[in-house]
């Protein structure tokens, strides 16, 4: 393993220091427990929108802290969900009478730790709700299992709920909106290489030079299926089909297309993939009305991409377009 780090045990803390130094006008960080909080928190009379999860997916979530998006992010150790006391500290730092919405990606660890935190917060008289995002079509959906993972859909979910909260929506409204987004967003990911977790020091899985992990998550866990490497046209069609046929997205639907780099894929390839996805959706009569292209929910240095589709309507478009000012997403502000 070769990484630009000192002691693997301190990677998250040291990285947060750099984040704080780089974006002092947007956010503050706290080291123990690790937190990223809006510089102007708590924002009076506003529903706090809080998310978190294991580190290694940057800019998710700390890069989305700021006006129009998150009030706080709670970074766990690399690929490890944060503990309840950290989540609870984020709630305490940001939440007033308007309450807080916790955005939780569907992993057993995240769900359990955030659940406990919500109980702790409720015990202190704060109104805290949580929603669980589970948009990964690679995983079979079933109540007998852990269910689908939360992946790319988390980014538009945080943007849209953050925008509603910024406009003064109530906790009921923000929660309902979040559930609406979760109901109509779907994603799929692929990996060309594996990430290396600093405290492990070896790649999370090994892929041959002619193999792709199809249906990969964001934690270096192997994907659903290993397929032979194939040209971009075929691979993107396979991804678009998996996502579009799941909800399903149909001709006439208006969508946000989010083409995400898993970290190590160069922009040259990412935009190439995005262009193909646009054409494949056009062929299906699905209207791409908004797009996001970049590394927004990553898996360390893993090469690969994910494709997320969110069904849009005027309300969601309006909230997507609303001003946002964070380290990683910024417009109209």
């Amino acid at each position: 393993m070769k990484k630009i780090i000192n002691d693997p045990a301190n990677v998250v803390t040291e990285s947060l220091r750099g984040l704080a130094a780089a974006h002092a006008e947007l956010l503050r960080v706290h080291e123990d427990p690790a937190l990223v909080v809006r510089a102007d928190a708590p924002v009076p009379d506003k529903v706090a929108v809080i998310s978190g999860g294991g580190s290694g997916h940057e800019p998710l979530h700390g890069g989305f802290v700021g006006p129009g998006m998150l009030d706080a992010a709670v970074p766990g150790a690399v690929f490890t969900s944060p503990t309840p006391d950290a989540v609870q500290a984020a709630v305490a730092a940001t939440t007033g009478a308007a309450g807080a919405l916790l955005i939780v990606k569907n992993y057993t660890g995240d769900v359990l730790n955030f659940e406990t935190a919500a109980e702790l917060a409720a015990a202190e008289g704060l109104e805290v709700r949580s929603v669980v995002i589970d948009d990964d079509v690679a995983v079979a959906d079933s109540t007998f299992t852990a269910g689908r993972r939360g992946v790319g859909g988390t980014v538009p979910l945080e943007k849209i709920t953050g925008a509603a909260a910024a406009r003064g929506a109530s906790l009921d409204e923000v929660e309902a909106l979040a559930r609406k987004v979760i109901g109509q967003v779907r994603s799929i990911g692929v990996a060309l290489t594996a990430p290396t977790v600093p405290h492990v020091g070896e790649q999370s899985f090994t892929l041959g030079d002619d193999e792709i992990e199809f249906g990969i998550g964001i934690h270096g866990e192997p994907g659903r299926e290993r397929i032979p490497a194939e040209p971009a046209d075929a691979l993107i069609e396979r991804m678009v089909a998996a996502v579009a046929e799941d909800l399903p997205f149909a001709a006439g639907d208006r969508v946000l297309l989010f083409t995400n780099s898993m970290g190590g894929t160069p922009q040259l390839e990412l935009y190439l993939a995005h262009g193909i996805a646009e054409r494949r959706l056009a062929e299906r009569g699905i209207a791409v009305e908004r797009r996001l292209v970049g590394p927004y929910i990553t898996s360390l240095e893993m090469q690969g991409i994910s494709i997320t589709l969110l069904k849009l309507d005027d309300e969601l478009i309006d909230l997507w377009d609303a001003p946002v000012n964070t380290a990683a997403l910024r417009w109209r502000s």
Partner: protein
């Protein structure tokens, strides 16, 4: 012979040593079907438990278990943190403020721990999780009876067999479940850590 607070703390220190020793193995098991952090998470947590104990051991077995529980909850993270944390918390509640635990109390603690894990994680036998180690451990402990050492020895042996039983299973809970059929053929890391910890407890109780 009953277990004092001292004994319980000693057993936890023994478990911490075993977890440290097996950190890489647990990481490796988790790397195969998960995200390669189970050994790191538990090691961070049990190291913190030792620190907690070093800074003052509580006076009853229940209080020691509770201190371990809250430390694990705030230091481990991931799925294992809340699950092990809940197990120790429920075990603490089950033993109340008794100053010594006899075999029956240890059985009750184990039973409460299992109930806590299942309440939180909703896993049943055969889902390929730590439940597959803990559930037979509790059954064996109940059946064995006797003093704490005997109870824990039976639990540890059953947990080891139970952990092995996860190998052929298709995981239905936890991160390994995302792999579907590809999860079969692997030892579940949480089941393995449960067996390791129970063995450490049994050895500590036997030596006490």
């Amino acid at each position: 012979m009953g277990c004092t607070a001292r004994d319980v703390a000693g057993a936890l220190r023994a478990a911490a040593a075993v977890v440290a020793e097996h950190r890489d193995e647990l990481v490796e098991l988790d790397r195969a079907i998960g995200d390669a952090d189970h050994g790191e998470n538990l090691n961070r947590g049990f190291t913190a438990v030792v620190s907690t104990l070093d800074s003052g051991e509580p006076e009853t077995p229940g209080a020691v278990l509770k201190a371990a529980a809250t430390t694990l909850i705030s230091k481990v993270g991931g799925a294992a943190g809340p699950l092990y944390g809940t197990a120790f918390l429920r075990a603490a509640t089950a033993v109340g403020d008794a100053s010594e635990l006899d075999g029956a109390a240890v059985v009750a603690a184990l039973r409460a721990g299992l109930a806590g894990v299942q309440a939180r994680g909703k896993a049943v036998e055969g889902d390929a999780t730590m439940v597959d180690a803990l559930l037979p451990a509790v059954a064996a402990a109940e059946e064995a009876g006797g003093d704490p050492a005997a109870v824990l020895a039976a639990a540890a042996a059953a947990a080891e067999k139970g952990a092995e039983s996860t190998v052929p299973l298709v995981a239905r809970k936890g991160r390994a479940s995302y792999l579907g059929e590809r999860s079969a053929g692997h030892l579940d890391p949480g089941a393995r850590s449960t067996a390791l910890i129970l063995r450490a407890f049994a050895d500590a109780a036997g030596a006490a």
